[in-house]
């Protein structure tokens, strides 16, 4: 594939592709958590693996769904991590295989419990690379649990069931989602009957970075001819549709009662923080502890960060560097301005210290041209023969 070769020959700039690899590394790094109920150690039946985006979208999801699963089967553990899909999508095959191998090892160490997934991309990759694992989805488990009491929704408008593209040919999963909807008395209509050709929402491949227009066009095409609100069972789809202006629910919103139709799409730049909060909730810790430098910003600035693929972590590193070294500028209003050189991009931020390791972020911007120390060596300035 041309793009794999491109990246390996350093033809592709690292930015913005690195953004997604960093997301994955964070999901497997400081947001990683394995919760095993002590009394079931060595005797686990289920290992709930929500994937890297569920908690990134709403930090309450993983713990809420885990608790439901524990009602169905107490011998259930939860592992917050990532299956490696971002590295696969960017062509870092070695890395993605390493992630999958680590996943397999952990699953073996825990006694090979049934892997319970919430994300169909995770399922596609694990089915393909680790055929002995044979994961199932949380939707099938919950649908089969006749004794589990689920909320009943009266007067819910009819929803359009939007299967994720990764659910192609996964008829059992769709059936499970429909069963859950029926049990909760939610009227629905399947948007795209043919499971061979389920359309894409535009998230897959992380194409938003290199080609935002294509990603947006895919989302727009998906929602354009359907007036009803959407019901998704992929959290990325849900967030993409919400971002494109379509009222969207995730099936887990209905099952847990966590969110309604109006939830906007969470900021891309804040997803790493959400994962940390999801971990804190799962470990029963105080929310605030986990975040280090605290950033305060309004929605417009968060959007600026999203559009530039700059995460809150990048800004924290920038501020930490500026505060430690003193290398920053200041204007008459007391606004600090500093930069952070990264590979292939330089990020700038304007901020105001608010005390107690808290900073108000006012603006972010970047440039790809790299500042260098001096002119090129003599003779290079005008190249010739």
């Amino acid at each position: 594939m041309g793009w794999k070769r491109m990246f390996s020959r350093k033809k592709l700039p690292p930015f913005p592709h690195d953004f997604w690899l960093e997301e994955m590394e964070q999901a497997r790094g400081d947001a990683e958590a394995l919760i095993v109920p002590q009394q079931y150690e060595g005797k686990l039946k289920y290992l709930f693996f929500p994937g890297c985006q569920l908690g990134a979208s709403d930090p309450r999801y993983p713990q809420a769904v885990y608790q439901l699963l524990c009602q169905v089967e107490p011998a259930t553990a939860m592992w917050l991590s990532c299956c490696g899909a971002p590295s696969y999508w960017v062509g870092e095959i070695e890395q993605y295989r390493a992630v999958q191998n680590a996943l397999h090892q952990q699953w073996e160490q825990l006694g090979k419990p049934t892997l319970v997934l919430a994300c169909m991309s995770c399922k596609k990759i694990i089915d393909y690379v680790l055929p002995d694992v044979q994961p199932v989805t949380v939707y099938e488990i919950l649908a089969a649990a006749d004794d589990l009491s689920l909320p009943i929704y009266e007067g819910m408008p009819e929803l359009a069931l939007a299967d994720p593209c990764m659910a192609r040919d996964e008829t059992a999963v769709r059936k499970a989602v429909c069963t859950l909807l029926e049990r909760m008395r939610v009227p629905y209509h399947i948007l795209h009957e043919d499971m061979h050709t389920l359309p894409c929402c535009g998230f897959g491949g992380n194409i938003e970075g290199p080609n935002l227009a294509a990603a947006q066009a895919a989302a727009k095409a998906h929602i354009s001819s359907e007036p009803r609100p959407y019901l998704a069972y992929c959290v990325n789809c849900r967030d993409v549709f919400a971002g494109a202006g379509k009222e969207s629910l995730h099936i887990l919103d209905l099952v847990t009662g966590l969110n309604g139709l109006e939830r906007p799409t969470p900021h891309l730049s804040l997803r790493r923080d959400n994962r940390r909060l999801a971990k804190a909730l799962a470990l029963g810790k105080e929310k605030e502890e986990c975040l280090g430098i605290k950033l305060v910003m309004d929605d417009e600035v968060a959007q600026m960060m999203d559009d530039s693929l700059i995460s809150a972590d990048h800004v924290r590193r920038l501020i930490a560097r500026a505060e430690q070294s003193g290398m920053k500028f200041i204007d008459e209003a007391g606004i600090n301005i500093a930069h952070l050189p990264l590979c292939g991009v330089t990020i700038w931020a304007e901020y105001r210290p608010l005390g107690e390791r808290t900073y108000q972020l006012l603006s972010v911007y970047f440039h790809r041209m790299e500042r260098v120390e001096g002119p090129p060596a003599d003779g290079e300035r005008v190249s010739g023969e």
């Binding site: 793009w3 070769r5 033809k11 005008v382 190249s383 023969e385």
Partner: protein, 439 residues
């Protein structure tokens, strides 16, 4: 003495130039040159040179997927476009007339006489082929400027949403009728693709039947006055103008910003041509790249030329430069040492690339005396570079059309230059394919 062995370097499919049936074909290396070879059970063996010289064809074609099994056994006769076609439309070519004001010895469209196509039919077709905000339409013929209503056609096409409008023309009327040029500009014409075979009149006499150089220069001047960009398009014929390549490029650069670039078209044998071609009557892309380097003293050379990515790499190349006012010629295309630039480009990216570079900027240009000489250079002051980059772009591009002798199915299924006719889109080389070669 080195032993020259015939080596098959690739497999594809082609057609018999006599009867047109689809045949398996091989790309075969004999010595330094590469030939497309095929064998018709009825009409015998055919061997056509497709690559001459030391430039590595495998480096040029890096990243290209070979034909494989998934091709249309009826290609190119199922055109319009069949499901095996790989590339979306980058540009649409549409004939507005069969008439012409020249009678050239070489003509892909066999232009000449005939009744004119009714304007209503043209409008109907343009409406049908246009994807609003996206379409790059080339008005062709015959010679489109024989039509007095061409400005009306241009205005209509713009109105229904064509994003870029190109006129393919010999430039004669553009030289002789300034009011007509003004009307085309007013109607929204984006740029002119002007036949320009060389910097000497003996070339025009041989290829077009009369001296045309002064008219060409006048056409450029008139288009410049109304800010319509002009791209010079030489048809390269061995022993006629292949020694003039360097001069053509230098002339083009001297006319920046009126001239936006040069688009070389090695001669191809379809439509009307004086006699069935021998291999010595062919001029390959590889030779063009080498001659460009030699004849421009390295100003345009393999280090700044990139093979086609939207179309098949054997279909052409592109390179972009900024011709700065002070004589620096800055290369923007920088493929790596293997001649490979990047992966596949979409039709839309390709369309935007050429659309932007061939359109003359409407921004204020500093009028400076043209530099006496251009040498390879580098950008320097950022503000100055940016100001000039917007107005002084110069592209050197090429397209190698296919004929029945060298038709390659692997290439044609990636074609993004589509002719629109009777509701169908067809790759250019399929539409103008002419059979009936000698056995």
């Amino acid at each position: 003495m080195k032993e020259t062995k015939d080596i098959i370097i690739g497999h594809t499919r082609s057609i018999c130039p006599v009867c047109g049936r689809q045949l398996p074909a091989q790309r075969v290396r004999h010595g330094e040159d590469i030939f497309l070879e095929k064998s018709c059970p009825e009409h015998g063996d055919f061997s056509t040179v497709i690559w001459r010289g030391r430039l590595s064809i495998s480096s040029w074609m890096c990243g290209n997927e070979p034909l494989g099994d998934d091709y249309n056994p009826n290609c190119p006769y199922d055109c319009g476009l069949c499901q095996h076609h790989l590339t979306d439309t980058c540009c649409v070519l549409y004939e507005v007339t069969r008439r012409c004001n020249l009678h050239c010895s070489f003509c892909f469209a066999e232009g000449g006489a005939g009744d004119d196509i009714p304007l209503a039919k043209i409008k109907e077709d343009i409406l049908a082929l246009t994807r609003p905000g996206k379409t790059f339409l080339q008005l062709s013929g015959g010679e489109p400027t024989v039509r007095d209503d061409l400005p009306e056609i241009v205005a209509y096409a713009k109105n229904v949403g064509c994003k870029y409008l190109q006129l393919n023309s010999n430039g004669i009327r553009l030289a002789e009728d300034e009011a007509y040029v003004a009307a085309l500009a007013e109607a929204g014409l984006s740029f002119v693709f002007m036949q320009f075979d060389g910097t000497r009149d003996d070339i025009y006499r041989k290829l077009r039947g009369k001296p045309l150089l002064e008219l060409k220069k006048q056409a450029i001047a008139n288009c410049a006055k109304y800010r319509i960009g002009v791209t010079l398009v030489p048809t390269l014929v061995p022993r006629v103008n292949t020694d003039d390549i360097g001069n053509i490029v230098r002339f083009g650069i001297s006319q920046v910003p009126a001239v936006r670039g040069v688009h070389f078209q090695p001669i191809s044998y379809f439509g009307r041509y004086p006699a069935p071609p021998a291999n010595e009557d062919r001029y390959t892309l590889a030779e063009l790249v080498a001659d460009l380097g030699r004849q421009t003293n390295g100003l345009v050379n393999i280090t700044n030329i990139a093979p086609s990515h939207c179309d098949h790499p054997l279909c052409g190349f592109h390179s972009s430069f900024i011709a700065m006012e002070d004589g620096r010629f800055i290369a923007l295309t920088k493929p790596d040492s293997e001649g490979c630039c990047c992966g596949v480009t979409t039709a839309e990216q390709n369309r935007e690339y050429i659309g932007r570079r061939w359109t003359r900027s409407q921004e204020e240009e500093v009028t400076a005396a043209p530099a006496a000489q251009y040498v390879a250079g580098e950008p320097d002051d950022l503000d100055d570079f940016l100001r000039q980059a917007k107005t002084r772009s110069f592209t050197v591009t090429a397209m190698a059309f296919q004929d029945a002798y060298n038709l390659d199915i692997e290439r044609i299924r990636r074609c993004s230059l589509h002719v629109y006719e009777d509701g169908k889109f067809m790759p250019f080389c399929a539409r103008y394919l002419t059979l009936g070669g000698t056995e």
